[in-house]
């Protein structure tokens, strides 16, 4: 039975007076509107179809004072030249953000106080567009009260990836809102590693203009944490949008990704791999809307689960009338390493155009005994053989990463993570 306090959004939190007062005109307006959206829709409830497999109260009432767990992704990508931005307990750890050619980096906390800012056309707008047909009130809450985030304006091809490294002392409850604007023909790669807080509510809004390219690689780690993320993407003609997430820890992770293909000949890929062991609940919820001609979308999710870990996948492709020549692909698979783990999948297609190719598949399986015997017959011990077959299982998701160096880093990281277990 849901407690009454769960029904309503805590309005005092949404009318954070000091935050609103210190906000400039553009952000004040966005926050007030988001606050109204959140209050109108209320917090997600257990009976909500969109939260069928993940209890929203597990996030809403998560303990935010847990001790921090070790980051396993420390040092990952260190050998690559990156533009580094550090977050500690939800605060950007630098008086001045790094500068790089073809992009500007700003913090939400400082930009929020300005009267006018380029982010005003994106901040909260993509999130608002993503509230239909399903309400995502926790994302609206984020827009209303986020105090920090990275705002990146990309005007050309940025040579090195921007690397957001988040750390947490474990006593934190972080609400972070990033905005990335990719100009026509511009290119950027954004990497996110670590954990923002014991509980974190993260929104990433990405506007990729015609011919732009956006690549996103995310590594979520830390054991004792609860995390809800939303990516809202708006993709223009001939643009490319790719996001990959590796999750190797955390009690609760729900990654929502809401993309709108608004220009012809664009392509998007949303991929993820997770390794879940024990107290681990991992939910990928994806909604891709095709609203233009000849666009491609791919969803590739691989979940490795053991000792009672739970994997969830809810993925939808909506092809609007007129979005002809759509090529939609969706695969979600789980590798269950024992009988205690479970995978819950709800793939959906909703198609209003008649000349489209959409395929979807979902499977659950155990380790292939024939392959296991093959490896062991070559002298590979059982545990190591299972690791290799696990790598084999997640390979298709990792192959979605465009940059082969970064893909190799992810693969090496996975190998190390497994051998450390």
């Amino acid at each position: 039975m849901a407690a009454p306090s769960q029904q309503k959004v805590n309005t005092r939190a949404l009318c954070d007076a000091p935050l609103i007062e210190s906000s400039g005109v553009w952000s004040k307006e966005a926050r007030m509107m988001a606050s109204a959206r959140a209050q109108a829709s209320g917090l997600p409830q257990r009976r909500d179809e969109y939260w069928k497999y993940t209890r929203p109260d597990a996030f809403v009432h998560a303990d935010v004072t847990l001790q921090a767990s070790q980051r396993s992704s420390l040092g990952l990508f260190d050998q690559r030249a990156t533009i580094s931005v550090a977050f500690e307990d939800g605060q950007i750890q630098a008086a001045a953000l790094p500068s790089a050619a073809h992009c500007t980096l700003e913090s939400l906390s400082s930009a929020s106080g300005l009267d006018l800012h380029w982010a005003r056309d994106i901040y909260g707008h993509l999130e608002a567009a993503g509230q239909k047909p399903v309400q995502r009130s926790l994302a609206a809450v984020n827009t209303a009260v986020a105090r920090e985030g990275l705002l990146v304006n990309v005007t050309g091809a940025v040579a090195a990836p921007i690397h957001i490294q988040a750390t947490s002392s474990g006593q934190s409850d972080s609400t972070i809102h990033h905005v990335i604007k990719v100009a026509p023909g511009a290119e950027v790669t954004v990497i996110e590693t670590g954990q923002y807080g014991a509980r974190s509510n993260i929104v990433l809004e990405v506007d990729v203009a015609d011919g732009g390219r956006f690549q996103h690689i995310r590594v979520q780690d830390g054991n004792e944490r609860h995390m809800l993320t939303h990516i809202f993407g708006k993709i223009g003609a001939e643009a490319v949008f790719k996001t990959f997430t590796l999750t190797a820890g955390g009690q609760l992770t729900r990654n929502e990704c809401v993309l709108q293909l608004l220009g012809d000949d664009a392509s998007v890929s949303v991929a993820g791999a997770c390794l879940g062991d024990g107290d681990f609940h991992h939910d990928d919820t994806v909604f891709i809307t095709h609203d233009a001609v000849n666009c491609e979308s791919r969803q590739v999710f691989k979940k490795v689960l053991r000792n009672g870990a739970v994997g969830v996948f809810q993925g939808k492709i909506l092809v609007k009338a007129g979005a002809q020549k759509t090529d939609g692909y969706q695969i979600s698979q789980s590798l269950l390493l024992d009988d205690d783990s479970q995978f819950l999948a709800k793939p959906e297609l909703e198609i209003y155009a008649d000349d489209v190719a959409c395929s979807h598949g979902s499977t659950s399986g155990a380790i292939d005994v024939q392959a296991l015997f093959y490896l062991r017959s070559r002298g590979v011990p059982e545990a190591k053989a299972i690791d290799l077959l696990t790598l084999s299982f997640v390979a298709e998701a990792i192959e979605e990463i465009e940059d082969s160096d970064l893909a190799q880093d992810i693969l090496d990281h996975l190998t190390n993570t497994m051998s450390a277990q």
Partner: protein, 251 residues
Amino acid sequence: MLNIKNLHVKLEEEDKQILKGVNLSLEPGKVHAIMGPNGSGKSTLSYVLSGKGGYEVTEGAAQLEGVDILDMEAEERAAAGLFLAFQYPVEIPGVGNMTFLRTAVNAQRKLRSEEEMSAGEFLKVVRAKAKDLKIDAEMLKRSVNVGFSGGEKKRNEILQMAMLEPKMCILDETDSGLDVDAMKLVSQGVNALRDENRTFLVITHYQRLLDHIKPDVVHIMANGRIIKTGGPELALEVEQNGYADLLEEIA
């Protein structure tokens, strides 16, 4: 090298006896061939010896250099020097052939408490051996057996054998799915590994493989037993007359 005594094996899941008292004694340096009709138990014998699950040994023993192997894990048997070249090598997407080979070589060394092979040394050795088998760098880089032709898969099996340097090699229908050229290449690979300390057990349906890999001893297996043992001429006899005469002989 390998001594099999009165080996009885049934399927674990059902009450079906497959091997009904196999006796074999394989000396170092020799090539033994086993021929026999479908369902005679040839592949089961190779699986039971190399440690595949799903079988239950109800009677008998198998010793590799005097050590019982039937209670060992598959990887321990491999480290002890046993190798099975699969009839159907398994595809493992996403795991590079080189990674797989190096993992196997070093895992065996570790099990034997030997020093692991360095990356540089491994690369040198694997390149030389791959060249002999006409396996190019591209094939080494690709995922294990993924997209390989039948011939490439079998050559890859022989490359693994060459890298792991086992004492006891079992080849399970290595000729299946091979054209004439591929069979020559694979046979050359096997012949190059023949030496006085290494023993081969070649399982095949057809005599033609034995034209390339010349056996010292030929065994005929039927209904879970070795029914006849002889020299290379026995294989020719089977080729000409089939198994029917032999089966009648013992009936």
